[in-house]
Amino acid sequence: MPSRPFRSPDTGGALARVPLTARGWVVLGAVVVGLVVGLWFGTPSIHAVVVPGAVALVVAAWQIRGLERPIVKRAAELEGTVGERLSVDLVLDDPPANLGTVADRVPDGLTASGNHRAVDLGTGLEYDLELDERGRYRLGPTLVEVQDLLGLARRAFVADGRTEVLVRPRVHPLRSGALARLATRSGVKVEPERHEFDRLREYRPTDSLRDVHWKSSARHPEVEFVVKEFVKESERGTVRLSGEAVDGGADALAEALASLAVGLADAEVRVGLATEAATFEPVANPEAVERLVAHLATIGPGVPRERGDLHLVAEGPELEAVAVEVGDERLELTDLVVVGDERRTRLVGTGPVPARGVAD
């Protein structure tokens, strides 16, 4: 369902401020016409229409009386990768026992389905969000229309809560020989691929829940949880990435840099990054790499302040138009990265994201 234009509730003339819907006006009209006709012509059955109509209006007024602006509870942040589909959940705090309509504003670059829906306000709204383009977005504010059971009267509120959405660029896998190819040129040590983490240990309160290894936890009931511990910084080399893009090439550049950064980090190479906007010192732990990828979500066209070991130049919107400059050499990105195989495209950081507080 395409999102309808987001109407501001408190506009219009005096009539528009009467909290009746079109349906409510029809019922009110029927009641008034019925009264007039009944007085005029003495129509015998008219009160069978007029009385229930009046009751409906009274009940409607009663059901939407004394409402205050509802508070929407929602995740403060959501993350995902281009092409991914997320579920957004909106819950009204202390919801009125009413039916209503909830509409969440969704910016361009994201496609929402069902973000404007008639709902039971008690159960809130859940909708799908398709992440079309990388970037940082804000969902909300939320239009909450509270109505009576029959939809005769309605009051609208704008609830302020927002959800920040980070959409990371896609990450494509490295070609099998890519590391070797780079190693000869930039001193990358190539080791056989090994498991992501080293060992399991018991949960400590400071640990992130994401690091809990559920399978092992279930196998070891004697401890609370088992946590995977990652390899300490190893000496498998360091690569500084940098990149520049012409106008319209930033998406390609971001995808290319993200692919290389993640691919290298997976091989436990310390990765640094320089873009037109910021410079990151080489790091090894996966969360730091995620930060690099998150940064790549927002880069624009332009030239970095520093030039790294691998300097990428995006000359067009296609990944095929990205060149990799290593020293004096110039490679195609497609020499290093498998492009266009959607099945092998990795989504970084899927799964639940630990909430960092609740925005109201």
Partner: protein, 759 residues
């Protein structure tokens, strides 16, 4: 049935949304029924009821198919075709010549608009020409559109269409109050449950909706706020709603140009003088004619047209000149039938049955003159020939007329072939068998049937109605005429006509003579009743009871020694014992063949006793007060639902049960209960778990929404105990502790189960 989580769950054929949809469609059904019932009753009176039901059923079936296959645009096209095609068909049949439609489209449109205006201002749709054809042509289009929209889940729009249709019949006054309530509540149910289905709402709302609907029904039953509506007691939920709505409806029909007569019970007539008539002969001063018998009243069909004077006098008719002076304001023009010319009023119109009507009400003191051709039945020759379609309109009878009336009429008329002879025999029979009284209570059921078989006495409307029904059952074209009896004779050629002279009689069709009048009401008791009333009114000094001419004369005065000529007609009849020449010298019993008397063996009671079964006496048992039962059911449903919804004790127990829990020692039971408490608390703090969500999905959502690690830990423990098989008391105690904490935060602190306060 599906086994899930170790428990057997009964899978209902409908989920909640399905139940909501079923209820919404049921409401739409009640709404449709309320409209169709009116059309059905019309077709029961006029014929075609089966065809109507078939058409409605087909329209619903077509809507069901269309809702599946066709876009709204196509459906609206189908609706237009049904509506326009229906009306074209109606016109083709209702108009004498379909070419008229092409030649005078504006006139047709005006007459359509005229019909519509009349109907919305409270005139029965029965007054529309060819109502039966109209009912059949009108029904399918709105039914189709209503149900198309309903099947497409556009309940509100569908309700608007169906409600508009029902509204038409409410405005026309054709819809009984009970059905109007049923239809209105149906509309509410359709819209309300439609909203619930659309929103996947919880059952709470359905409970509220049921209470609201019950409230509406009760309010409609006990609060007739609109004047004119439901005058007597709780609107139509009583037994005798419209019976005494207008105790003077006979008179008002005679005064005003009403299109309907509702036959009522006891009436009192008004002694005020209405007209002074100068005439060569006394006559029945006719003001209106009704052609359509509905079983409980009469309706006049057709539209008014300008009066065209004629000088073609039927053979054997006498021309009678009358000069009428009005003593009240009225638009009715009493005149002997059949008027040839009217002078003194501009723009005189006639009804579809040739009764003149003034275009504007005349004021008191206006005069006009009428020349009429009066035919006496004994002056008309033999007649036997097939009926023309026009005459067939005058043999209409309600479909539900009990067949004992035609059967009895057959026996009564055995051996009598000439229609006018048949009329005379029926007239004689009624005069002999039934006595005259204004003090009767209106029977329920068909008036003619009830008067003939169940009542001993009645007044003119009952006599005339019954006689028309009997004639029609013998295929003799007949109709109901209303107007005034002769009145008080104040000079040789002058009569003073009062409200209490209001009268109803019968006209029988004869191809040569036209309409011939018969009066089955016993004249003598009628006349003495009037005499008494005038005397009483004079004693009470009722204003307007006399004119200067009449004031000094007794009501039954015979002013001159010579008999008034009109009285000649009375000499043969059984009613000629009154010595009352001043009243009702109708050309009534003149044709009664004295040698051809009523079969001596024929007796009403014997006839009824010979009937095999009580089929005919459908009304003799007191009518089932099902309206009351319906109201009672509504009240009970509302009260029970309301009580269930509030259920204060259960609420309190639940509140307590959710807040405190003492470990029982059975880990699984404890953890299960702890889970219920936690989900209840989380439902308050965040949102309830949706029926479609697994606990795991719910937990993920809570995590996104920011529920703390205690919640997470609780679910982990829960999984371990309930699905991991670790029936460990320590874990159960931990689960209960965690639940206490979560519930405490959610309920006592009124807020989020935020991170950082536990574990």
């Amino acid at each position: 049935m599906a086994v899930e989580q170790g428990r057997v769950q009964v899978r209902w054929p409908l989920d909640l949304a399905g139940a909501h949809r079923l209820a919404a469609l049921g409401g739409l059904g009640a709404l449709t029924l309320a409209s169709v019932i009116v059309l059905y009753e019309i077709t029961v009176v006029l014929g075609g009821s089966t065809q109507l039901l078939v058409r409605v059923a087909l329209a619903v079936a077509l809507a069901w198919v269309a809702a599946r296959l066709l876009e709204p645009r196509v459906a609206i096209a189908i609706f237009a075709v049904l509506a326009i095609g229906g009306y074209a068909w109606y016109f083709a049949i209702a108009m004498a010549d379909p070419l008229d439609v092409l030649q005078a489209p504006i006139g047709i449109a005006l007459s359509l608009a005229d019909d519509a205006l009349r109907v919305v201002t409270g005139l029965s749709v029965l007054t529309i020409r060819a109502t039966d054809v109209w009912a059949l042509s009108f029904a399918p289009a709105p039914v189709f559109l209503t149900w198309y929209l309903g099947f497409r889940r556009r309940y509100a729009l569908g309700t608007a269409i169906g409600g508009g249709t029902m509204g038409l019949f409410v405005l026309s006054g054709d819809l009984e109050v009970v059905w109007a309530v049923v239809g209105t509540l149906g509309a509410v149910v359709a819209v309300g449950f439609g909203e619930l289905e659309l929103r996947g709402a919880t059952p709470d709302h359905a409970e509220v909706l049921v209470v609201v609907v019950a409230l509406m029904g009760i309010a409609a039953a006990v609060a007739p706020v609109v004047p004119g509506g439901g005058v007597s007691g709780p609107i139509g939920f009583g037994g005798e709603d419209i019976a005494d709505e207008d105790a003077v409806s006979l008179q008002s029909n005679v005064i005003g140009a009403d299109r309907q007569i509702q036959i009522v019970g006891e009436i009192e007539l008004d002694p005020e003088v209405r007209y002074t008539i100068e005439s060569d002969e006394p006559a029945l001063w006719r003001t209106g004619v009704y052609d359509r018998y509905t079983g409980d009243g009469w309706v006049r069909t057709g539209t008014r047209s300008p009066f065209t004077p004629t000088d073609s006098v039927p053979p054997n008719a006498t021309v009678v000149e009358q000069r009428v002076r009005t003593e009240i304001e009225t638009d009715r023009l009493p005149a002997a039938a059949k008027p040839l010319d009217v002078a003194g009023i501009d723009g005189v119109e006639v009804t579809g049955q040739d009764a003149p009507i003034a275009p504007e009400p005349l004021s008191s003191g206006d005069t006009y003159t009428v020349a009429s051709a009066v035919t006496s039945p004994d002056d008309v020759g033999e007649w036997r020939e097939p009926l023309s379609p026009i005459q067939e309109d005058y043999t209409q009878l309600p479909e539900d007329l009990p067949d004992r009336l035609p059967t009895f009429t057959d026996e009564l008329l055995e051996g009598v072939d000439d229609p006018l002879d048949q009329a005379a025999r029926i007239e004689e029979f009624l005069e002999r068998e039934k006595s005259y009284s204004l003090d009767v209570s209106r029977p329920s059921g068909d008036i003619a049937d009830q008067f003939l078989f169940e009542m001993d006495k009645g007044y003119c409307t009952y006599f005339a109605t019954t006689m028309v029904a009997m004639l029609r059952s013998a295929d003799v074209p007949a109709r109901m005429a209303v107007g005034y009896g002769n009145g008080q004779q104040v000079a040789e050629d002058r009569w003073v006509v009062r409200g209490l002279n209001s009268h109803a009689w019968v006209e029988v069709y004869h191809p040569d003579a036209g309409w011939v009048a018969f009066d089955p009401t016993p004249a003598s008791p009628r006349s003495s009743a009037r005499n008494d009333q005038v005397d009483d009114a004079r004693d009470d000094d009722v204003p307007g009871v006399d004119t200067d001419e009449s004031v000094d004369l007794p009501y039954d005065n015979v002013p001159t020694p010579e008999e008034p000529p009109g009285d000649d007609n009375d000499t043969n009849g059984t009613n000629d014992t009154s010595g009352d020449p001043g009243d009702d010298a109708a050309p009534d019993a003149g044709a009664t063949p004295t040698n051809d008397t009523i079969p001596s063996g024929l007796d009403l009671q014997d006839f009824l006793a010979d009937r095999p079964d009580g089929d005919d006496e459908r009304e003799s048992a007191p009518p089932m007060p099902w309206e009351r039962l319906g109201l009672l059911a509504l009240v009970t449903t509302g009260a029970v639902t309301g009580a269930y919804r509030l259920r204060p004790r259960r609420r309190l127990r639940r509140q307590l049960a959710m807040r405190w829990q003492r470990p029982t020692g059975d880990p699984v039971r404890d953890v299960e209960r702890a889970q219920r408490r936690v989900e209840w608390a989380l439902g308050k703090a965040y949102r309830p778990r949706r029926p479609s969500e697994t606990p795991r999905e719910y937990r993920r959502v809570l995590e996104v929404l920011g529920a703390g690690p205690a919640v997470d830990r609780f679910f982990a423990v829960n999984e371990r105990v309930r699905y991991g098989g670790e029936h460990d008391r320590t874990l159960a105690v931990e689960a209960v502790d965690l639940a206490d904490g979560i519930v405490g935060h959610a309920v006592w602190l009124g807020g989020d189960v935020t991170p950082g306060w536990a574990s």
